[in-house]
Symmetry: C2
Subunit: 649 residues, 2 copies
């Protein structure tokens, strides 16, 4: 039923470092500190206030429903409520908490996390099953609606939490609970005659099982992940079989199409990125893991097609994806409205996951550049600078009425961006047997192992505000390995020296990475300079919403106009396609963040005398437009925001 | 409770001619023929198929519900269904049918209309009450929910139908039924201690009662109309009293705010056009009628403020109004999205109603220009050129997926645009004791009476395709009266001659009308020339959606680009703010409609090689942009459409 093509070449697998291996400072250090110092406590309190622990903890009475069941468009009540996936929300809080604990010990946080873990330990059934909704709220219905009810999705997030908590604290309790649960799942699902050939409507279990396999060394979890990937979209369709078993018509489906769950075709036959954006990203992440672990060229090939489809036809310049609120996902090619953009924070987080996993087979800036773009823009915007407030949707234009909120009744994004930020170090590197790939730059210390030798890599840099990076190699004895440095496509004049000696930077033939293979000695210094200047980006004219407009970037950061700096009516501003003289200045109270000012014209909005339409040609006056990094918008009071600014033609 | 200011100046009231007084040919003649020959039969068949007559006719068994009740956003089922206002849909079909019968006798149509009228006659209760929903579907609940259930609205449309059918056929049956119903309503509602101080959530009864009073000469109907206008929005609030009487919390209201029904304030205190657009237009129409009939300056003053608010801050250049589908109505000032514009056909029809009634006190092109703009563009677009298909929403930009449909489960627009088109002659003139105002131009013959003398006015013209109008006056004996000719604001070089002798056209001091007061003799000819050329219109820069864009008009018509003429990706086209050389040509198969072509540039969409964003400055090539009248779009196969075209800056 599944045709796999396994690579004939001896495979190299690049794996991310474990969380404790990379300690970040500088730009990311401040963000991780905000998560550790503030966000995790907020997340815990909000879960408590929402009543999540009342549902999870079997020591408490079974609570009343807190969230209503969804409704279908025809008015029929559905069987799904956001409360079904509370386990996953709590799991992401544990994961973020784990990374916070690694950042710095905190007895209060650790006690809270241990307390939640104890609840799950108490909750677990003798056969290993562990889902609070089906054990306490709807007993007897487990595994009856994989399509809609997030059951394996919750398991996946708990598994990720267990791995993270084990890595950060060394404590095995949740890991053991989740191994037992994973064993139960492995017994329940699979190709065997007594097993279910099912998979989850919301992908997540696949990539989680890969993490569990890597953490425990148990290949059976990897096999189970591969099973879920391979089973998806096969005929006869599991979701149809399952619906009929519930006495329902498979066609009576609230989301109308199996594209919503990327279950419309076997995964190797999929060519267009469709449906719910977060689900898509999690699926492709799991597929990329399996492709790397099994050197599965057939999966890689499908992923490359999907990657081109997403990044060539369906991605905002911020790395935001999924333009429509209706399906929380994808629509038509080139349909990228700015003010109504859904661009869920979780979806950009998911894109970071996928991009990083596409680097599992080889360094390739095609993926790493997008990883960086989504991380610094579409994802990071989801968290306020102080770590206390959250965006769910990330539009590229606001009329002044879009702001971060404290919580959401579907609270998936806050812990998701928190866990991403707090684990950002793991995305900076890929480590193979004889190679270290540097995917991201940032002030940090990484303790890695290559060619069976411990190596410490220290980055000293003001990145992303400045492109000078000093990379120091420390190791016990001289060792030969390859250091692969990403040269971002946005940089037109990179320069590199090793030990003070310049080396040529020609990466066209090497997928955008500069490979420095040598015998490295303790104290070797690589100096990398990635000059940053303001770049104007045009969208493909098929994107009707951006035509005649320019977006500005500097280094990895997309910039925007805010009312705080430019007054309102931001669409009255036009800038030249050839940018005028640029000046930069730090933004007061935003930790060294750099604003950029350029000459502009501004439509004269006076003298209309109450008219709505007139024939006179409008007047423009000269002005200065001040741009700030997109991820920092809405940190300085409410107002309009605009990424795609009108160009003077 | 109500402060009325009655004009001290002896009032002049301009009233519209009755339908049979004006016979149109040329442009409007073809449209009226389409309604008479095709639309009326379609409307009747669709009402039949929907089951409306089963509900109305008491000779048939009470039918099952056909349309579901609405749902509230919180999932609670509401008490409203579109089926409640089927009487109004059928009434509008009778009204359109009446005008069609006047256009040309048709035994089949007349038999069908008589048949429906017989149903209502059978339906009427001994006390005069006559509403099919509350008599047959929900007996015992009459007058318990004026806010939501369209009860007086249905009465209003039936009254309009009765007046129209009487005018067209001379038959009194429906008129008598409706007079009895109006008498019952007058007994039920009013300021008396045993009367209800209520009014309808969907305005319509007010303007209908004015029509009934004018047709029957019964002033009590005028008084009742005035009562409904005055009672609206007074405290204690009738809708709250009524909700509590139903055992409901007044705050538990599906539309959240009394602004939805323009009942948030007494009408004289209202300053912003709010809520459901059609309701607002019908209210203001009724207010304007009452202002004219009673020379009520306090009402006129309120209406002038509301008029400026609508036309200065909330109206599309097409005369479309009500930008949001959510409330089928108004949002913030200057919020006029083009591709998601709701701009319901009925709302532009309602704007024609309101504008025409603002002319009741004196000719003023401030109103007549908008009347023309809404009629020829936002309203007329609602009907296909052959009279068989209908738009509900009228966006100003389509990505190719918006098309006229055959029917709608809330079928208000098809009969509404049909009755407007079929009665267009009545909007052309306003007749006062010693004056005839010519508001609209079009090939036609009008048989009016002024200064107690019958006067025939014949317009010979190709308007709106050409601005030459020859107006011939025929009358039995020389008579002195004033002929007031509207000089549209869009025309920059009007010229007029009477009997071949040029007269000065200076209308700045006379509200845009040229008054020709003289003793008119049989055969006098007025030659009016309104030169038409392509005009580029800019929107106030506060309309963020139109900034940097131009809309083109020629005469009263707004033009648009269609894919049929220009290929797809219409936003790749830019035109100069100073238009280049213009050429006109008839559109094949569209009855002499004129297209306009101008030089343009077109963004080169090739050479992107799968890229979504890039830094290169885009290339443009020269092109020709061909524009067609907005009201004719989607008559020649599917495709993109665009009104606001990008301007070269």
């Amino acid at each position: 039923m599944t045709t796999r093509t396994i690579s004939a070449v001896a495979p190299t697998t690049f794996r991310p470092p474990r969380i404790p291996q990379v300690e970040v400072s500088g730009f990311w250090g401040r963000h991780v500190d905000a998560v550790a110092d503030r966000t995790v406590a907020i997340l815990y309190d909000r879960c408590l206030a929402a009543g999540m622990f009342d549902q999870i903890d079997p020591a408490r009475p079974v609570p009343e429903m807190r969230l209503p069941f969804h409704r279908r468009s025809n008015g029929v009540h559905d069987t799904v409520t956001a409360q079904m996936f509370w386990d996953s929300d709590v799991a992401k809080v544990i994961e973020a908490g784990a990374y916070a604990l690694y950042r710095r010990p905190n007895a209060d946080t650790e006690a809270k996390m241990d307390g939640i873990i104890d609840m799950f330990a108490r909750l677990q059934q003798p056969d290993g099953y562990c889902n609070s909704w089906y054990i306490r709220m709807q007993p007897g219905k487990r595994w009856t609606n994989l399509r809609d009810c997030h059951e394996l999705y919750c398991a996946g997030h708990l598994i990720e939490a267990a791995v993270a908590y084990h890595q950060a604290t060394g404590k095995r309790k949740l890991l053991d609970v989740m191994c037992r649960y994973a064993d139960h799942i492995a017994a329940t699902f699979g190709p065997g005659p007594d097993q279910k050939a099912g998979y989850c409507g919301h992908e997540e279990i696949e990539l989680a099982l890969v993490r569990l396999a890597r953490e425990t060394g148990e290949q059976r979890y990897m096999e189970l992940a591969r099973f879920f990937v391979d089973a998806r979209g096969q005929q006869p369709h599991y979701f149809d079989i399952e619906a009929r078993a519930r006495g329902e018509d498979p066609l009576d489906y609230v989301h109308h199409t199996p594209e919503y769950t990327q279950a419309h075709l076997p995964v190797r036959q999929q060519t267009k990125v469709v449906g719910h954006a977060v689900r898509a990203m999690y699926l492709y992440s799991g597929m990329a893991d399996i492709a790397a672990e099994y050197a599965d060229d057939s999966l890689t090939k499908a992923l490359e097609v999907l990657w081109d489809d997403l990044t060539g036809k369906q991605m905002y310049v911020t790395g935001g994806i999924g333009s429509s609120a209706k399906n929380e996902g994808f629509t038509q090619h080139y349909d990228l409205p700015n003010d109504t953009a859904y661009a869920e924070t979780c979806a950009s987080v998911g894109l970071v996951f996928w991009a990083s996993r596409m680097l599992g087979r080889r360094p390739d800036r095609r993926y790493a550049d997008i990883l960086e773009q989504a991380l610094y823009n579409g994802a990071l915007a989801g968290l306020s600078a102080d770590g206390s407030r959250f965006f769910y949707e990330n539009p590229l234009e606001s009329h002044g009425d879009h702001h971060r909120w404290n919580w959401h009744r579907c609270p998936c994004c806050p812990p998701n961006i928190a866990r991403l930020v707090a684990s950002v170090g793991t995305y900076m590197y890929g480590v193979a047997d004889n190679s270290i790939a540097v995917h991201l730059y940032g002030d940090s210390v990484a303790r890695l192992e290559v060619a069976s030798t411990p190596v410490t890599l220290t980055q000293n840099t003001e990145y992303p505000w400045d492109g000078a990076i000093r990379l120091t190699v420390n190791l016990a004895q001289p060792t030969r390995f390859t250091l692969s440095l990403r040269i971002p496509a946005w940089c037109d004049a990179p320069s590199v020296s090793v030990g003070g000696e310049a080396i040529a930077v020609d990466v066209a033939e090497n997928l955008g990475y500069l490979d420095i293979e040598r015998e490295w000695r303790d104290g070797d210094v690589v100096a990398l300079t990635l000059p940053m200047h303001l770049i104007s980006r045009q969208a493909n004219p098929k994107v009707r919403q951006d035509i005649g407009r320019i977006a500005l970037s500097r280094g990895p950061l997309i910039y925007c106009l805010e009312e705080a700096d430019n007054g309102n009516q931001l669409n009255a501003i036009t800038i030249g396609r050839k940018l005028g003289e640029t000046s930069t200045a730090p933004i007061r109270d935003l930790h060294g963040a750099i604003s950029v000012s350029i000459p502009a014209l501004r439509e004269d909005t006076s003298g209309w005398n109450g008219q709505l339409y007139r024939a006179d040609i409008p007047m423009q006056r000269t002005a200065t437009a001040r741009f700030v990094p997109y991820h920092l918008w809405d940190n300085r009071g409410p107002g309009e925001m605009l990424v795609w600014v009108r160009a003077q033609s």
